[in-house]
Symmetry: C2
Subunit: 249 residues, 2 copies
């Protein structure tokens, strides 16, 4: 449906149980640095698959798919500026483009829900709040910058369980990077997220922060590459792999 | 002591509790393919650190160390042939050399011992038996070839625990890749390992197989790179990081 253009909406809630992925496409001459950046920063950048330069099939995570057509919408950036939002990459594809697929939070949110931990932004029908922190990523080549985190309020008596269930999924951001005081990681105001929407934090709840897949995009755009392509926010690539396949135990 | 040359032996049993690493050094023009190979084959090639081209300090895993001098012994391969075994890389270092440090089995063996699972080859004072399997690795660029596994006999009533404790350490090979029938993964004769020494399998024990860090060396040498440097067998790089830091839960 996505390939034919008959569905171009957000992918949250679609194909439950199947891993969805963030997409970043870069020219070959930046690919080593970006791959190294992901290796050095596995929590914000958990690589699920790297598709060889020029190739379009994610043969490990979705054999038969075409990365140029099977994402609902793409964003094209030139020198760090958004220049187009398009439903297909077929017209602009090049043989030097390397595609990176990275795990996203949908997998661990499903695990939290299964463990009886409600997800506030899902209840509110809004996007998860995301914040730029003072946690530096480990630089690699031209890529460097602060870690972006997502936040979910968790009731105090559910925090241990939230750590446990998300720890099982290091390929989709894994365990939290911080629990509690936002100021300790450089976040001044939880009501003013840099990306997404603020959510209510109720009495007895603690803000819990996970490394966020927006990090590699933000870091890559920082370096203003001649060309970078990503999925449009919330419109992910849906793989054929199940969440449970990525649990380490 | 290793840097000064006053210790040049094997490193098993040294600095207990600290992670030891396999070393592979390759020229920059093969580094992307090798990094991608590791990303695609995390069980045999669990990357702990990639040191930038020409740099010699493993700043994440052992700040202040020097990768040219702090391994007891190095093997130098040219076009896939061993041409030298030397105590230091200072004389042959080049600015285009990228160093890859990969987790080794010592970490998960310690976890098994702690869980009351004896390690046969340690009891015997021999090297772990290693076998070439019919499990194909996922190729990347010039690198491809079969997975090499190590084998440890485990009593039937300890197998579940062995899976659990080693699953906690995906950065040091993690859970077994196979339990039981050697023929199912293409191993004909357990008494004739391709590397290391055969060990006794006692009544009530089952052979359990883990992905082995010899895999990336074997695969890399297969492609006969102009230059590749590794640690000498059993003489690993000892990091400043503790085993427990790499446990996912």
């Amino acid at each position: 449906m996505i390939r034919s253009g008959s569905y171009d909406g957000v992918t949250a809630g679609l194909a439950n149980g199947f891993v969805q992925a963030n997409l970043a496409v870069l020219p070959r001459d930046l690919a080593f640095d970006f791959l190294l950046f992901c290796q050095r920063n596995p929590r914000p950048c958990p690589l699920l698959e790297v598709i060889d330069a020029g190739e379009v099939e994610p043969s490990f995570t979705a054999p038969g798919a075409d990365i140029r057509t099977d994402v609902p919408s793409y964003r094209v950036y030139e020198h760090g500026e958004l220049v187009a939002e398009i439903p297909s990459l077929e017209q602009i594809w090049r043989n030097d483009l390397v595609s990176f697929l990275m795990g996203c939070s949908f997998s661990f949110e499903a695990a939290m829900s299964d463990a009886g931990i409600p997800i506030r932004h899902q209840e509110a029908g809004s996007n998860v709040p995301m914040y730029i922190t003072n946690i530096a990523t480990q630089p690699a080549g031209v890529f460097s910058g602060p870690m972006v985190v997502s936040m979910r309020p968790v009731a105090q008596d559910k925090i241990v369980r939230a750590v446990q269930v998300t720890s099982r999924f290091p390929d989709t951001h894994g365990a939290p990077v911080h629990i509690g005081d936002p100021g300790a990681i450089g976040i001044r105001n939880l009501e003013a997220p840099e990306f997404g929407d603020a959510v209510e934090i109720r009495a007895g709840e603690v803000p819990v922060f996970w490394a966020c897949g927006v990090t590699p995009q933000a870091v890559a755009l920082n370096c203003k590459p001649p060309l970078m392509i990503t999925h449009s926010p919330g419109k992910m690539f849906i793989t054929d792999r199940r969440d449970a396949e990525y649990a380490v135990i």
